[in-house]
Amino acid sequence: MEFITELLSYMAENKENLLQYTFDHILMVIYGIGMAIAVGVPLGILAARYEKIAPFILSTVNVIQIIPSLAMLAILMIYFGLGFTTAVIGLFFYSLLPIVRNTYVGVKEVSPNLLEAGKGLGMTGLQVLRKVQLPLSIPFFMAGLRVASVIAVGVACIAPYIGADGLGREIVSGISLRSEIKIYAGAIPAALLAIFADTILGFMERRTKKRIV
């Protein structure tokens, strides 16, 4: 009980800092995921449309995902230096797999009947993609986005090791100072962010799914 009051008073005292860290954390995640969407969705669509290159695209993003996050950030640091940008690039790579894979699956999952209906009614290949396959793959995409966000919020916690900000700052300095309070003050908001992203995106995912299934 005493611990909680202590933690709360610490958080209240350092409100400004913690808010700034949270803001940085969210920004990092949004940029990373934004890039992952910009690159991942087209890759997913390409993989779905051209079966021949699908294994290549999918295994590449899989391999990226396998690299331990700390190692990945360290390697990126070698090339991009310390700072925010490098962290964003790291998050981008980590969010890529769920987004590419789910876009791919979403587009592939569209029932062949609907594709035939679209084609038979006189849609061009691109129209089938735009009017049928993409709208129907949104629930899958949303599921991917949700997974990606949770991963990105987590990975962003180690960003301070490569000189970026975010809630990880509080955790890392807590580790070096052996301060439980500092660790919790960073970890709890980070966990809440992850839960929040999961809930909101989960809700959106269900909304998009409603009519389609």
Binding site: S111, N113, L114, E116, A117, G118, K119, G120, L121, G122, M123, T124, Q127, K131, V132, P135, L136, R211, I212, V213
Partner: protein, 373 residues
């Protein structure tokens, strides 16, 4: 009109799906392609909107070779209804029906008007239904939408690939009825694929029965039922349906083609002689190869006229070769005559039918029936 001329389809693996198909699908008719699975009926239909391309031969739609047409344009000119309904689940009913008009970039008011008209056509209240999504409709309602989606851009030709096979029996019957009623109104050239003989008999103007990539028999439901070409056709139709379909003999089969007639210019005496020699009471009159009417023995005896033309009766109802026996009997009775004339489409006399012809034909028919059973 759609014409297939010596059309073949060979798949890349060497499998020949269609062998030398020659067909015409008549304008404004329901043409049903039927046959066991793998007979090539669906392939034949998909050739028409080029979802499948034939390997050789020619397919003409309204006289134009479809191989020279843009497949996208071609498909937009043909309605297409697929087996599994295939409504787009993420679109409202309005958007589903408006699919092709939107592809064709019609203006909004024209699309609105079309969607309303079509929903009314299948008795779905537009205001209620247009904002709903397919998942909120029953199977039967969904396929009604599937059908009007195909009609939206006013195509002359509609392709239907087993459209009702996924429905429950009651909805299926309803939709079959609706389709025949609808067709009376819209008069499209419909190519309808099914494996259900009852459905084919119910809705078809022309049935094309296929097997192993070949056309085995084509004709009206009546022709298939009454004159099955071989054992395969009989087996496919089923003995029960064949027996049910055994109709009384048609006028064509019972009429007397070796009849005695007279001419407008013939004298009364000669006509009377003919009647007496052949033991008849009336004669059909021919004028310039065409049927002109008839004369009875009473007319001939009554007057003092010189030629047949003066005593000719023209009020007799006549028969067509395709009429049924019951019609012949009814006319004989109604008109209190001994003979009814049968005319061809060209108004030439094909033959005459009298009570004796009918009783002979019926006797043959019942003897045959007993032999069958």
């Amino acid at each position: 009109m759609i014409e297939l001329k010596s059309v073949n389809k060979v798949y890349d693996d060497g499998f020949q799906a269609l062998k030398n198909i020659n067909l015409t699908f008549d304008e404004g008719k329901i043409n049903v392609l039927i046959g066991p699975s793998g007979c090539g009926k669906t392939t034949t239909m998909k050739l028409l909107n080029r979802l499948v391309d034939h390997t050789d031969g020619t397919i003409l739609v309204e006289g134009k070779d479809i191989q020279e047409m843009n497949p996208i344009q071609l498909r937009r000119q043909m309605g297409y209804v697929i087996q599994s309904i295939g409504l787009f689940p993420h679109m409202t009913i309005y958007d589903n029906v408006a699919t092709v008009p939107k592809l064709l970039r019609w203006n909004k008011s024209k699309i609105d008007e079309t969607v309303h008209r079509l929903l009314n056509l299948v008795n779905l209240e537009p205001e209620t239904f247009k904002k709903r999504y397919p998942s909120e409709l029953s199977g039967g309602q969904q396929q009604r939408i599937g059908v009007i989606r195909a009609l939206a851009a006013e195509p002359d030709i509609i392709l239907m690939d087993e459209p009702f096979s996924a429905l429950d029996p009651i909805s299926r019957e309803q939709l079959q009825d609706e389709l025949t009623h609808l067709q009376a109104e819209i008069n499209k050239t419909i190519v309808f694929v099914t494996h259900d003989m009852d459905e084919a008999i119910k809705i078809a103007d022309q049935i094309i029965l296929m097997k192993d990539g070949e056309v085995v028999q084509k004709g009206s439901p009546h022709e298939l039922l009454t004159e099955p070409k071989n054992d395969f056709v009989k087996e496919f139709i089923g003995t029960e349906r064949l027996q049910k379909a055994e109709t009384l003999p048609l006028v064509r089969e019972m009429m007397n083609q070796d009849f005695v007639s007279t001419y407008v210019s013939e004298s009364i005496d000669e006509a009377l002689n003919k009647l007496i020699n052949h033991n008849l009471t009336q004669l059909p009159v021919i004028n310039n190869k065409q049927y002109a009417g008839f004369v009875t023995i009473k007319d001939l005896l009554k007057g003092s006229e010189e030629t047949v033309s003066n005593v000719i009766n023209t009020d007799q109802k006549t028969l067509k070769p395709s009429d049924e026996a019951s019609q012949a009997m009814r006319l004989l009775k109604e008109q209190e005559l001994n003979e009814v004339t049968v005319l061809t489409d060209q108004n030439e006399i094909a033959g005459v039918v009298n009570y004796k012809d009918i009783s002979e034909a019926l006797q043959n028919y019942y003897e045959k029936q007993q032999g069958v059973v």
